[in-house]
Symmetry: C2
Subunit: 148 residues, 2 copies
DNA sequence: CCATATTGCGCAAGAATCTTGCGTAACATC
DNA sequence: GATGTTACGCAAGATTCTTGCGCAATATGG
């Protein structure tokens, strides 16, 4: 993990489908060593995979909400985590220290669809004591590019 | 945008660097039409780009925090948004309806590094009235894969 | 200080993949 | 039932990937 490796990761964060040839030029190497470094980063688990940035609005997911969840007790924690993992509309979930216990990010088509999701799914999650739901007005930043 | 297009997006969410040939097999097309659909999805802005999933811990960013920000007044809104956009350690930022005004996600090496970032950068952002900072204990889900 | 090991680079060539022009079939429109 | 539209599959030239090999630079040990 030196500066060239970080440069490779930076370039790939900008364009994950960039050809190894273009990548090599961008980081000042020839194709072969650049290619080997890339494989190494993949094998070491530095690169966990590749993704695509899909515009949510273009696939009928124009509505986004943040939900703060507090659980009644620790005993439902496992069940809660398992169910959250299985629900595709929850695209992001963290367990936090302190209050609230969890932070969820949910995608839906629109407000009515979200309301149904809230009533039918969220309130039924195991051990939920309190749900606070906040609508996202604007996404300033997303995609999770790391500062390298 | 039909079922095949959604299948293409699903496959690419699993592996954004998948070859068009493998993609074609996966969605039940031959190479050529699959390739053209992919280009079309890119040109229509359905696909905004491609990314790489880097393990934060492997690049010395093993610490993650969520920050709730409330601003003193609307007048600093623009300045606040601009500065947030320029800070690389803030990897995610949303403006919300109601309280709090903003939700930020911050990456750092460790707790001491985060404390310095908090004191030197976060408290100095324009118009900040209240900052509530919560440490992420566990990432249940991330990467932002959409349900397609 | 020199011999040897290790690491990482560049070159090159065969394999795989991409890209695109073209012809054809399926479906809709009138 | 004629015509237009859309999307498919085939095929071939261009590009890109993948890997074996040799060489140079920096460490390691006598």
């Amino acid at each position: 993990m030196d500066g060239i490796d970080r440069a490779i990761l930076r370039k790939l964060q900008e364009n994950g489908r960039m050809t190894a040839t273009a990548l090599a030029v961008g980081v000042g190497l020839t194709l072969a060593p650049c290619h080997r470094r890339l494989r190494e980063l993949e094998n070491n688990g530095v690169i966990r995979g590749y993704g695509v940035d899909v515009d949510p609005a273009k696939v009928d997911l124009g509505f986004e909400a943040i939900i703060f969840v507090t659980l009644r007790d620790r005993s439902s924690m496992k069940d809660f985590e398992r169910e959250v993992g299985e629900i595709g509309q929850i695209i992001d979930a963290q367990r936090l220290f302190g209050e609230p216990d969890f932070l969820l990010r949910v995608m839906a088509s629109d407000l009515p669809a979200y309301q149904r999701f809230y009533d039918d799914v969220l309130v039924g999650l195991p051990g939920v004591e309190k749900l606070t739901s906040t609508i996202v007005m604007k996404n300033l930043k997303s995609g999770g590019r790391l500062p390298l």
